[in-house]
Symmetry: C2
Subunit: 261 residues, 2 copies
């Protein structure tokens, strides 16, 4: 039997920081037919609140180092303010959203990242996704909205990379649904020429992905993102789309589709 299509969408800082862009995007998301899941990253609000509270944000290799005071701030901002603002907006748009951290109903279990060279503090690496409970929500026409906070089932909340969360959730749901992962970021897709914002490569399969890495076209910050996407495809996710905030609009044709073959 053909499985039902589940769309899983990730939005990051660039959409979240601008309330007008965010609310407009949430209208597009709310109007998607069928079961869907939203995952959101952080945004500059956490830095604002940290500064106001006298904390100095620390970043190593683009990842926030999370001490105890910082995990409190990101829990406040991501699981509290951003998550509930998004849920309230989706409710306004008749999407029956529910906001979740990984601790809620043990949806996303993680462990504190093992210290090798760098101690990232209370940063989580994902171990398991509670696809059974997430499916209970979907079957009741409820739309899960995940923030990037997980837990270790020992009482510790963990700051977790939102790209990782969305691909782990998509992988976890792939046994029950045909899954499509949508990454919304600041560009219209993977670009052939970084100077030309419209030079979107429309299709990338595994073979082409390796060519693009060798050619230096996929580099820097795109490398972990693309690695993450192909990992998801290899573990059962049906399709990955990458594009800007207009990705979900039905008349949008300019985005990148990733597939294995």
């Amino acid at each position: 039997m053909k499985k039902q299509l589940l769309k899983i969408v990730k939005i990051g800082g660039n959409v979240i920081n601008d309330e007008i862009a965010l609310f407009s995007f949430l209208q597009d998301f709310a109007s998607l037919d069928g079961p869907k899941i939203l995952v959101h990253g952080g945004g500059k609000k956490a830095t604002e609140v940290s500064s106001a509270m006298g904390l100095q944000p620390q970043m190593i290799n683009g990842r926030r180092v999370t001490d105890e005071a910082t995990v409190e701030v990101v829990t406040m901002v991501y699981a509290g303010l951003l998550n509930k603002k998004i849920v309230a907006q989706l409710q306004k748009n008749n999407c029956n959203a529910i906001g979740l951290s990984g601790a809620d109903a043990n949806c996303i279990l993680a462990h504190k990242r093992i210290v090798k060279d760098i101690d990232y503090g209370f940063a989580g690496d994902v171990d398991a996704v509670n696809s059974k409970f997430i499916n209970v929500l979907l079957e009741n026409d409820v739309t899960p909205v995940f923030c990037a906070i997980t837990h270790d089932k020992e009482g510790q909340l963990l700051n977790t990379n939102a790209d990782t969360i969305v691909s782990e959730v998509a992988i976890g749901m792939s046994s029950l649904y045909e899954t499509e992962l949508n990454f919304v970021f600041e560009l219209k897709g993977v670009l052939k020429n970084i100077e030309d914002k419209n030079s979107v490569i429309k299709q990338i399969n595994l073979e082409k992905y390796k060519e693009l890495i060798d050619a230096g076209i996929i580099a820097d910050g795109m490398l972990p993102k693309m690695h993450n996407c192909f990992n998801a495809l290899e573990k059962g996710v049906g399709k990955v789309k990458i594009g800007d905030a207009s990705l979900l609009q039905s008349d949008n044709k300019l985005y990148t589709t990733l597939s294995l073959k």
Copy 2:
């Protein structure tokens, strides 16, 4: 058919402000048999964060006046930090908790309090409880943990009195369950003599309640709390218990039970 017993428990600032007391209480709550719901109020953390962010908390008649900046702070602290800390602790204690605001799955719909003499700002008065969805959670052995934030389904989050939330949730669930409401506060129960912390009145029915008001024994801050409880009893809640943080311990005998007759 006899309905199943559902215990609904409310904790307030005095338990929440002290992490050791809170975690000990959550162990008691986690070990309760059968379906259960927790509702928590705020605590001094919201005031701390407000001050750090340069906001001046404003109170009228014991209720926080909620401007836009304040609704952001209480959403961060109540729906974010406190709610997720509580959920993570319950998960640690093998209670499959899920943290919710009223916006989540439209669980508690409210409206901005109508301005009569005082404009309380973004303070919510409860209109409806989504008992159907709350029951889906309970039937899946998931324990809802509500913070005192609701929404108006127009995108606005609303700061809401936690005593009101817990009684509205209990009333809402009374069509499906035999309900018992447990109020945890700073005293061992309703006291005959406020100077004697052990002078607990063990049973109060509607008749005695009126006598105690006339005698001036129920006064001040206890008046709205007791009014709230008897309102719940009149609207279908089976039993109300009031006591301190040891209320849920099976060997605790010192608390007040309220009933209509």
